[in-house]
Each structure stands twice: as C-alpha cells, then as structure tokens.
C-alpha cells in the first residue's frame, strides 16, 4: 500500500523531529533542509536512512544532494514507492 503525499510529509516530519527536535509543524513542503531547518549533513543522512526504513524506498546517495526542500524529499519518496 502506497503512502499519500500527506502521509509521507507527516511521517518525514516525525523523523526530522526525532533526530533534531524541530517541531513537526515546522516541517513544511517549501522549507529548505539546510537554510530553513538548519539540518546538517550528518542529520540529513540519518533522516534519509530512517525515511528509507519507514517508507520502504531506496534514496540513492547521489539523489540526496538534490533533495533541497522537504517537498523534494516527499515527492521523491512518493514517486519511488512505485
């Protein structure tokens, strides 16, 4: 069963909150991981790995640098569910 965009956003927000303490409501589609949420590369990799586990997708390392905003990550995960 595929996750909807809203479900992926909510799940990703929980992962971000768990890793960084950032409030889930701050994790919005248009927010940049680095510029808005101040998430460093080590936290980003942890978030990616946890997201792979939660949503059952693969996010290749070379793809991670393209995930600038939360929306980029949500859209990638939704599409990757195949």
């Amino acid at each position: 069963m595929a996750f909807s965009q809203d479900e992926v956003l909510a799940g990703l927000a929980e992962i971000v909150n768990d890793e960084t303490g950032i409030a889930t409501e701050s994790v919005q589609m248009d927010k940049s991981f680095t510029d808005d949420l101040d998430i460093d590369s080590i936290s980003m990799m942890t978030i990616v790995v946890n997201a792979e586990d939660k949503f059952g997708v693969k996010i290749p390392d070379e793809e991670v640098k393209n995930l600038i905003t939360v929306g980029d990550a949500v859209n990638f995960i939704v599409a990757a569910q195949g």
């Binding site: 768990d18 890793e19 960084t20 303490g21 080590i42 990799m45 942890t46 792979e52």
Partner: protein, 413 residues
C-alpha cells in the same frame, strides 16, 4: 607559571547522586550505590555478575532527547558533570582560546560501537548511522564538554584505563603551567555497564561475584573482598591559576598542588607486587609539589577491592611513607561508588577536594574484617581532620601498568 593552581568548580553524576552535593552527602552517610541490574540482557546472556553501580540519575532525565541521541552515554555523563562544574565555577568572562579541556574515558563509546555492530549484522551497512564514529571515539566526552563551553585552548583525552582521569588532572596542571591557558575543565567519564565489558572483566576474574549481596560487594581492605564492582558516571573539576581565580573573585575550593604519572612495564594487568612504579608516582608527585611525605595526612586510595590490587597499593604506600603511613587517614570510597574506571580518579579527586576543604575524610564501608596484610588507618566513619590545613593525595592505577597521583591541599589565600 610558578603560582598556585586552584580548584574553582565541581561537577559529578555518580551511583550515589546526580550532582556533587547529593553524591557527597550519600558518601558521608555511608550509603552504597551498588544494586542489582534489572536489565533484560542479564538473564538473556546469563551474565555471571548481576550487579553494578548504576548512575543514580539517568542522563535522559537531565539532557534533551537530541543530546542523548547524538552522544554516547559516556559523553552524556561527561556533559552533565562538565556543565555542573562550569556553572559552579561561574566563569562569565574568559577568552575561549584560554580555556582547555582534559577529559578522559577508560573504555570510550562502547554502547555506540556495539549497538552499531548489532545494526550492521541485523540490517546491513546502510543502516549504520553517520553519527556512529563521532559518538564512539574516546575523545567524545572531552569534545562534548569543549563544545558546550566553547573551549578553544585544546581539548585532549588521556586514556590510561583506570588511571585515566587522574592522569587528566596531572595533564591539566601541565597545561596551566605552560601559561598557554588560564582555565582547564578536567576529569573523566565512563558508561560501560554493558554485557560485553561485564563479561570480559568477569572472565579475567576481576569482578566481585557477590550477586546475592550487591551493597556489600565492594569491600576494599576486607579479608573477604573478591574483586571490584563496575560503576558508571563522571566527575569534572574546573581548575585555574590562582591569579586568574583571584582576579575574577572566584570561590576557591582547594589547591591542586601537583600530579605525577609513571608506568610499570611489568605486566599488562597485574600490578607490580613490589609497588615500585606506584611508589615512584607518589614520590614524583611529592617532589613536583615540594611536599614532604610527612605533610600528607589523608589519602583517597585507589583500593578497588581486588585481592592483589589493594595489597600492591599498600606496599607502594608503605615504601614511600614508612611509619608515617600510620598517621594517614585512608579512605577507600569505591566501597560506596563502585569503580568508575576512567571516571574514578575524577570523582575521587572531587572527594579529596571536599575532604581538605571541609576537613572531613569520607568513610569506607563494608570493612567488616580488615585484612591484616593491609594495616592502614581506614576511615570507617566520617572523620574530622582538624582545623589546620590538610594536604591529601588521590591515587589511581590502571591496566597497562599506569600509575597516576595528584596532591590536593586546603586553600590558604
């Protein structure tokens, strides 16, 4: 830098309490911090030793979830103790370049390392978290403190098993003597109450197996002692030059007179039975501080409660002090705290600082029948050390043949 070096801040989290005050009060009350381990892994792995000195206050109750997530338990304890010491010292205006950290661990981030290996085996390399290396590295506890207080004068980690944090104090003195820094946060931390280290120490017959009576298992100098008891936690001391402390109107606990480090090159784990290396450390510390052996009136001994270790330390002390040893009040505080390994020297230095400041030697519990081979004057109840200034010594020895000694004296302006 020829002036005095003084202690101006203390911090600790130990099996007796979550801070210095509660730890010291429990120590004076003769409490034991040792208890049965309730963790499920004790039964799962049939761990032969089922008790330890667990931190009285859990780190998760003090730090934020994110701090806990990014720090190994050894660094969590370090951060708690370091923050308490820094706050206690009340240093509000110092150049970060003039602040250093000398903070030890004996074993390092063993929880992180072994949890990560479990993850690798169960879920593969992709799931090994990117924070694994910075969390398991042995300089992690020192860095946790250094980043928290913005210490930019050098952050270092002496690793010498159970002598580690006394060596850190000796190194801190050296840093201040160079004149490169004015303040050092020194100490050590350990969080190794994990099935692997317990099994490993047990298999070398280093641990007490008194599973039916944990509170009396750590019994230095008693004839029925059968090994040490693992403890966890951290101790941190803020030390600075007297000049710097006076200029900022700091409260001064005590003078850190001198320290010394030697090595046995005898055996990887067994102490030199003649106590030669340990005695040399004591003599060097006395020489460095310009202290006569007869000035020492209180010793916080290493005294881990192992059959051979307690005797080897006595032999070393007798070698240096001779008949004067009878006039020295000896406290073996591991009887209450257990053995914090890389954190032991730090909390025992804190006890020694408080002893010379308050003129009270802390008690040694569980000495029901003192070993006739160790005829020292064991402090069994809190003892008044008299109104005059007290000069005391704290000893630590570690696997690898490490010997470290510091001398601490009542501060007189």
């Amino acid at each position: 830098m020829a002036g005095k070096i003084v202690v101006t801040g203390l911090g600790a989290t130990t099996p007796l309490g979550g801070d210095v005050e509660s730890t010291w009060n429990a120590l004076l009350a003769g409490e034991s911090g040792i208890s049965t381990l309730e963790q499920e892994w004790v039964a799962r792995y049939e761990i032969p030793v089922t008790f330890a000195g667990q931190a009285k206050v859990k780190a998760a109750d003090v730090l934020t979830p994110q701090e806990c997530k990014r720090l190994d338990p050894s660094s969590q304890f370090a951060l708690i103790a370091g923050r308490e010491a820094w706050k206690d010292a009340n240093i509000t205006d110092v150049a970060p370049e003039r602040v250093a950290v000398e903070f030890s661990t004996g074993i390092g981030g063993v929880w992180t390392l072994l949890d990560a290996f479990d993850t690798l085996k169960e879920k593969g390399p992709r799931r090994v978290l990117p924070m694994t290396v910075p969390m398991l590295m042995p300089n992690g506890p020192a860095v946790a403190i250094g980043m928290d207080i913005a210490a930019r004068g050098g952050v270092r980690t002496a690793v010498s098993a159970c002598a580690s944090s006394t060596e850190a104090l000796a190194n801190a003195i050296d840093r201040l003597r160079t004149g490169e820094v004015d303040v050092v946060v020194a100490g050590g931390s350990e969080a190794a109450i994990h099935p692997l280290p317990i099994s490993a120490f047990a298999s070398m017959h280093a641990l007490s197996k008194r599973n039916d009576d944990p509170a009396s298992a750590s019994r230095p100098y008693d004839v029925s002692r059968d090994g040490f008891v693992m403890g966890e936690g951290a101790g941190a001391l803020v030390i600075e030059t007297e000049e710097h402390a006076l200029a900022r109107g700091a409260k001064i606990y005590a003078e850190l007179v001198s320290g010394a480090v030697t090595s046995d090159a005898h055996h990887i784990t067994a102490p030199d039975p003649e106590g030669t290396g340990a005695a040399r450390a004591v003599v060097r510390a006395l020489e460095h501080g310009g202290v006569a052996a007869t000035e020492i009136t209180h010793i916080n001994a290493h005294a881990t409660s192992t059959p051979v270790g307690d005797i080897a330390e006595y032999t070393a002390l007798k070698r240096v002090f001779g008949d004067h040893l009878d006039s020295i009040a000896v406290s073996a505080t591991k009887s209450s705290t257990g053995h914090l390994l890389g954190g032991a020297g730090a909390i025992e230095a804190i006890f020694t600082v408080l002893a010379v400041q308050k003129r009270i030697a802390p008690p040694t519990i569980n000495v029901d029948n003192q070993d006739p081979l160790i005829p020292v004057d064991v402090v069994r109840e809190p003892r008044d050390l008299g109104a005059a200034p007290v000069t005391a010594m704290s000893n630590s020895f570690g696997f690898g043949g490490h010997n470290a000694v510091v001398i601490i004296r009542s501060y007189e302006g």
